[in-house]
Chain length 436, copies 2
C-alpha cells in the first residue's frame, strides 16, 4: 500500500483524534509558573474586572465633573496627591488632585489632564504641599479624558481566556492580573516510546561489534517534549517478536499513543512487522524520502505509530506527520513557519517522491532581500545525523520536482527561531517607507 504525504498526514491526524478521545485523562491544577506551555482545560471567567476600578492613564491632575464646562484654561487649588495603590479622598469642585498613572480616580473626578499640559508642569514637592495656597492652571478638558474605565480590558464574570488557550507569558500574566494563583490545564498527551532492534545499545555502555548507540529514544523524547507531550520510555526491545508482543501487552497506565522506531521495513528481521503481523496495524509505504516505511493502527485499542529506525527518517516522520497532528489535537501551536528560500546549488530529487532534505536557512532581511537562502547539508542519506544536527530547516522537494537549479525558490520549514543579533524590524525591505 502506497500513500502520498498528505494522505498519511490525514491518517495520522485521524488516529490522534481517536487517541485523545480514547485516553481522556483528567485536568491538572497548577501554580501559574508551572503552567507555561500548557493548555487551559476550561473557560476562565474573570473574578474581577480589569482594570478593577476607574484609574488614570497618565501622571496628571484629576478634575471634577462640575469643572468640565467652558473652553478656557482655569486655575484650580491643588488637592492632596493620589498615589497608585491608595483609596483617594473625595474630590471637591474647584480643586485638582495630582494623580499618578494607574491610581484610582477620586469620587467626583471626571477627567485627567496630563502633567505636561499643567502650569507649572511639575508636581509640587512634599514641602510645597504644606503650603495650603498651592494652585495650578489647567486647560479645558473633555469628560473621560485619560481615564481607563473599570472593566475596559475585561469585565468581571466574562470569559478572559477560552478553554484550549495555550498558556504563554501574556496569557499567564492575564490569569495573574485576575488574581488567580493556580490554573486548570489539560493533561499532557502521553506517548509510550519503544526503540527496537538487536543492533541498538543504550548510550553510556561499551559498544559491541556490529552495534550502534540508540539515538532515536533521545531524539524523539526531546522532540515530543518540545511539542508539549509527555514521554514514557520503554527499554530497548530486541529483535524478538514474541518479546515485543509481551512488552505491548504489559502496558499498564493508559497512554495516548504507542510510538516505535525500527522494524517496519522490507528486511528479513522486521520485529515490529512480525510481532504485529496478525493485528490491524497497517505497514505501508509513503511516497516520501526519507521516512517511506510507516506503520499505523491500534494495538488492543491503543493507537500505534511505527517510524523507521534511521534517526533522520524518524525525525522527518515526526515533523511531517506527528508534530502537526499533535498540535491539532492538543492545541499547542506546532506548525513550523514555512518560508520560500533560494537553493544555493543544483539539486536532483526522485520525481515520484516528496524528498525532505536538511539545510541551513539564511535570512536576507537587512540585506534588502525579500527571500532567504538555503544551503543543503549532507546528502539525502537517512543516517546523516550530524548534518541534521547542523541544520535549522527542512527543505521540501515535492513529488514531480526532479531537477532544481541553484537560485530557484523552494519551501523550507524553520526548525527553530533564528539566532540573535539585533532583531529585524522589517521582513523583506529595509526601506521603511516602501513597506508601511
Amino acid at each position: 500500500m502506497t500513500r502520498t504525504v498528505e494522505e498519511h498526514q490525514q491518517a495520522v491526524l485521524g488516529l490522534l483524534r481517536y487517541s485523545s478521545a480514547f485516553a481522556d485523562r483528567t485536568a491538572e491544577m497548577l501554580p501559574l509558573r508551572a503552567a507555561r506551555g500548557r493548555v487551559l482545560a476550561e473557560d476562565l471567567r474573570a473574578p474581577v474586572s480589569l482594570p478593577p476600578f476607574d484609574n488614570s492613564q497618565m501622571d496628571g491632575y484629576a478634575v471634577h465633573h462640575a469643572d468640565l464646562d467652558g473652553s478656557e484654561a482655569r486655575r484650580f487649588s491643588v488637592a492632596p496627591p493620589v498615589p497608585a495603590g491608595a483609596k483617594p479622598d473625595v474630590l471637591l469642585p474647584g480643586s485638582a488632585a495630582p494623580i499618578m498613572t494607574g491610581a484610582m480616580l477620586p469620587e467626583g473626578a471626571a477627567a485627567v489632564v496630563p502633567i505636561e499640559r499643567a502650569v507649572p508642569s511639575l508636581f509640587p514637592t512634599t514641602t510645597q504641599y504644606r503650603n495650603s495656597e498651592l494652585t495650578v492652571e489647567l486647560p479645558a478638558v473633555e469628560e473621560g479624558s485619560f481615564i481607563r474605565r473599570a472593566g475596559s480590558d475585561v469585565a468581571a464574570g466574562s470569559i478572559a481566556l477560552e478553554a484550549g488557550t495555550l498558556l504563554g507569558p501574556a496569557q499567564l500574566g492575564l490569569v495573574a492580573a485576575c488574581g488567580l494563583a493556580t490554573v486548570s490545564v489539560r493533561p499532557r498527551f502521553l506517548v509510550l516510546l519503544l526503540s527496537t532492534g538487536d543492533e541498538v545499545q543504550e548510550p553510556g555502555t561499551a559498544l559491541a561489534p556490529g552495534r550502534i548507540f540508540d539515538a532515536n529514544t533521545t531524539l524523539l523524547t526531546t522532540a515530543l517534549e518540545e511539542a508539549g507531550a509527555e514521554v514514557q520510555l520503554h527499554s530497548i526491545v530486541a529483535d524478538n517478536p514474541e518479546k515485543l508482543r509481551e512488552a505491548l501487552q504489559s502496558i499498564g497506565r493508559p497512554v495516548n499513543l504507542i510510538l516505535s522506531t525500527g522494524g517496519i521495513s522490507q528486511g528479513a528481521y522486521e520485529v515490529v512487522k512480525q510481532a504485529l503481523a496478525d493485528s490491524s496495524v497497517e505497514f505501508l509505504s509513503v511516497s516520501m524520502q526519507p521516512g517511506g516505511p510507516q506503520a499505523i493502527g491500534t494495538i488492543n485499542g491503543v493507537p500505534f505509530l511505527g517510524f523507521p529506525g534511521n534517526p533522520v527518517s524518524a525525525l522527518v516522520s515526526f515533523e511531517m506527520f506527528l508534530r502537526p497532528a499533535l498540535s491539532t489535537v492538543t492545541g499547542i501551536p506546532g506548525n513550523r513557519v514555512c518560508l520560500p528560500a533560494r537553493l544555493t546549488e543544483d539539486v536532483r530529487s526522485p520525481e515520484n517522491k516528496h524528498q525532505v532534505r536538511r539545510g541551513l536557512y539564511t535570512d536576507r532581511t537587512g540585506q534588502g532581500e525579500g527571500i532567504g537562502d538555503v544551503t543543503l547539508l549532507g546528502g539525502p542519506g537517512s543516517h546523516l545525523l550530524h548534518a541534521l544536527a547542523g541544520s535549522n530547516a527542512l527543505v521540501h522537494l515535492p513529488v514531480g520536482t526532479g531537477t532544481v537549479e541553484a537560485g530557484t525558490p523552494v519551501a523550507v520549514w524553520l526548525l527553530s527561531e533564528l539566532r540573535g543579533g539585533v532583531q529585524p524590524l522589517h521582513p523583506s525591505n529595509p526601506n521603511r517607507e516602501a513597506l508601511t
Copy 2:
C-alpha cells in the same frame, strides 16, 4: 535623554555582553533528557565514528571484492544471513550474504545489491536456509555500492558539535549516537526579577481598594524561562526607596541581571528612580509606544534594567530589547520570525514613535496568497492585557509611519508557532510547479 529603538537595542545588548562576562558561572553536566533547550558548554568530540563500521544502506545481498569484475548478471551461492547487530562471518568469493539495512558488512564484502534487484527478489525463509544448495542471481555491481562507510557521518575524534550549539532533538540525538549519556551545558542566564509598586498585590489574595494584582512577575518569569533564562523572584517591593535600596544591596547569589518593573516614569512616586537617583543608572525615554520609559545601568556592578510597570509595556520591552540580546549572549535562538502582513483596517500611529501594536496574524498559505493578514486587537493602550493575551503577533509601525491604510503590508513578529491543521508544504504558492 531620548533614544531610538535601535539605539536602546544596542545598549541592552552591550549591557548583557558585560553581564555574561561579569557573572560567568560554571558549566553543568546533565543527562541528555534534561539538556533540552540548553547550550553546549564546550566542543564535543565524537568518541566513536558514525557509523561505527561499514554497513549496508539497503536490505540486499553483500558480494565479495573478487566478484566485482564483469558486467553480466551471475549466480551466487547464498551465505548465512547478516542481521543488524551481529558480527558477520567472513564472506567467501562466489557467495552472497543476505544483509539487512544497518548490518555490519562482512569481511571481504565490497558492495551490496538491493533485494529488489535479486532473482528471486525475496530473502529465503529460515526453512529454505537449511537447504544448502540455495542460490541467487545478482546483476553486476560497482565497488562501494549501497555501503555506508564507517565515519562517513562523523569521524571518531572530530568535533561533532561546537561549543555554543543549542541542544534540540537532532543535536541530543547525535550526542546519544556518539554513546554519551550526559552532556556539559552552559549555566542558564540568571535574572533577579523585582516587581515594584504600592498598588501591586500577589495573586491569590483579597484585592484591597485601589490595588491591582501583580501580572508582571508571572508574565516576565514565563517570558524569561521561555527564552531559556532562570528566574529568581524577589517579593513585591513597595514604593519605599529606602526599602528598595536595601533589597538591592541584599542580593547574595551572583546574578546576570536585575530586572525591575514599574517606578521609572515621570510621576511623583517613582520608587526605582528615587532609590537609584544617586547611582549610575540612566532613566531615559525610547521613542517607542508602549514601553517609552526605560532604565539601564549597573547597581554595585550588577547589570540592571528597569521596564515600565504596565504589563503590555513590560512585555513589549522584553520582546524588543531583552529577548534578542539574551539570544545573542546565550546562543539560544530567540529572534522572532518577521513577516509582512496586510492590515485589515486603517491605522494611525504617532509619527515620532515606533508603535508596537498587538494583533492576530492569519496565514494565507493554502489560499494561494503570498502574504498573510493581521488584525489589530485592542487599542494602543498599555493596560490591555486581555488583547495581548489574544494576540499571536506584534505589529510594527515604525517612526515616520503616521496613517496606514487597510491592505498595506506591515512588519509583524510571530509570537508563537501557528496552530495545527495539516502543515503547509508551500510557503506562498499552492502551485508546486511555479514554486520549485
